[in-house]
Amino acid sequence: MRVPLFDRVTETFTRHLASHSPRRQFLGWFSTFVAGSGAFPLLPVQRAQAESRASVPVPPNTASDFDRLAQSVDPTKCNYWRHCAIDGVLCGCCGGGVHTCPPGTQPSPVSWIGTCRNPSDGRQYVIAYRDCCGRTTCASTPDCHCNTADREMPIYRPQTSNDIIWCFGTTSTTYHCSTAAIVGQA
């Protein structure tokens, strides 16, 4: 049975995490990792430039259905490339943005992660799906409720499980919406 390329890449990534950290401490380590990533200095944004180029075509037989059909223009749609494993309401539809919480809410320092392909540069990125917390669920239009599952795992693999309310360490653990921030390349 052939394991598709991108799956293998991801598996290596997750296996790496799993094998190098005692499982008991895994989540603690993971939290630090993701929380720390939020402190990265922002490089000059090259995105406009990247998008002015033609998108890099998706290899037709190694990409998931999501990847093949994803777009890199409108982050308030479920088929925006970063949303390959999101479950929830997009914060961009709620007064926030793709990595911005709506006013009155608080980003969770920990999150689940996905690995999604950006069609405009052909690269795979690790995405942190950070929930915004502390306020009743955003009443967006139904088209902003997404439920995708590329590389999504059950709750016993919490770091890639998207049914969990990822509101740990926030003042209140109520769920409002979900963001999709770039952590780095996969």
């Binding site: 006013p103 009155g104 239009t141």
Partner: protein, 403 residues
């Protein structure tokens, strides 16, 4: 250090990924372009997108074209009427209430909650949010509020930002007066037989009474003085709508009855009543009566009126029907000159509408129209053209900033 470690791993992954691609025969040509170092491409490859910081949005000054609309029985959702998009969320249930301060820097909600959702200890609060952050800054304890479905007139603010008035019903009726500077209830005034709040220009409010009169409560922080008017409408045959309109800057009110009679009044300890006029007569139609089979254009809905004070226009949600259809959805909005008592315009709505509100600007005012299905329409209040249609799951209660 963490960043540089990451950078290093990224580089490795990139290499391995491209290595894989180059071995894949199905991608020979495509792979050639990439594996040959990209020399065939016009521009060098863009650097990968950088890691992003999570942050929290803040809001600019509350725009004329924003509206807070009750949604899903859990919140008021702040909509940008120009873009038709959501800007933020303020929690409040169907029984709760919301008001915006005149300077638009504060949003207040009068809420009732139970410590265990539908049971436990009941608590009532006036919650104070700052507009830029939609942050809950204070919770001011209240006596038990009146619990009713979507009654804007159960919570009102004075234009000077000094007072909030909250209607209570236990079932005895009264009003809690909150000093918004000190953030506490300073007085609860009994208003037996009377309900709702219509604020004056300064230090007081009036309530509508079951015998067709007004109770007027003057309160400047020290002593409350209550006066009562004579009856000016007959609540048995043609009551005044709860959703009658008041200009909190001037204390002028437009009390509209079920049949469509408008009683103008200037509220104070001694209210001055103006000449009543008929919505139908102002539209060159016969006055509507109280016949249960008497067909006429009539006002009705959940929030059937909006007084645009800058333009001095009254927007009324109208439908055809007999008497006792005061809760029926409207199919048109009739726009009146409040001074001349003259119909200026009839706007045909895209469907049956429960509630309306109009943006307070005079330049390009927007008309917000909520359907019972939860759909939100935004129209030009001038042309009546629909500019946005949103599957917003909204209920029949809209709050826009007013002077």
């Amino acid at each position: 250090m963490l960043a540089s470690t990451r950078r290093g791993r990224k580089g490795m992954k990139n290499m391995r990924r491209f290595g894989h691609r180059c071995q894949n025969k199905a991608f020979a040509f495509f792979a050639f372009l990439l594996c040959s170092g990209g020399s065939a491409l016009a521009a060098p490859p863009a650097p990968p997108q950088a890691a992003e910081t999570s942050d929290v949005a803040t809001l600019p000054h509350f725009s004329d074209h924003w509206a807070l609309i009750a949604t899903n029985n859990v919140a008021f959702t702040l909509y940008d009427g120009d873009k038709g998009t959501i800007l933020g969320t303020v929690p409040a249930k169907m029984i709760d209430n919301l008001a915006i301060s005149s300077d638009r820097t504060k949003i207040y909600t009068a809420v009732s909650m139970w410590s265990r959702e539908d049971h436990g200890t009941r608590e009532d609060f006036l919650q104070e949010y700052d507009t830029p952050h939609l942050a809950l800054e204070h919770e001011i304890d209240l006596p038990p509020r009146a619990l009713a479905v979507f009654k804007q007139q159960n919570l009102e603010l004075s234009a000077d930002g000094q007072w909030a008035y909250i209607f209570n019903m236990s079932p005895a009726t009264g009003v809690s007066i909150v000093n918004l500077h000190d953030r506490k209830v300073v007085r609860t005034v009994d208003t037996p037989g009377c309900a709702l709040i219509f604020p004056w220009a300064h230090n007081g409010f009036s309530s509508l009474c079951g015998n067709g009169s007004l109770t007027n409560v003057a309160f400047d922080g020290k002593k409350a003085q209550v006066t009562q008017t004579k009856s000016f409408f007959d609540a048995d045959t043609d009551p005044v709508f709860e959703q009658s309109q008041v200009n909190r800057r001037t204390g002028q009110a437009l009390f509209v009855t079920y049949t469509g009679m408008v009683y103008p009044a200037t509220l104070s300890a001694q209210p001055v009543l103006g000449q009543p006029w008929s919505l139908q007569e102002a539209a060159s139609q016969p006055k509507a009566g109280t016949g249960v089979q008497e067909l006429a254009w009539r006002p009705g809905g959940k929030q059937p009126f909006f007084w645009h004070t800058a333009d001095n226009r009254l927007y009324a949600l109208m439908h055809t029907g007999p008497y006792w259809t005061h809760k029926q959805d409207g199919t048109e909005v009739w726009v009146y000159d409040v001074v001349q008592h003259r119909l200026l315009q009839r706007i045909v709505l895209p469907g049956p509408t429960a509630s309306i509100a109009v943006s307070p600007d005079t330049k390009h005012p927007l008309l917000f129209a909520v359907q019972p299905s939860g759909k939100l329409f935004i129209l030009s209040a001038e042309s009546g053209e629909v500019t946005k249609t949103i599957e917003a799951r909204v209920a029949g209660f809209l709050v826009v900033p007013t002077p």
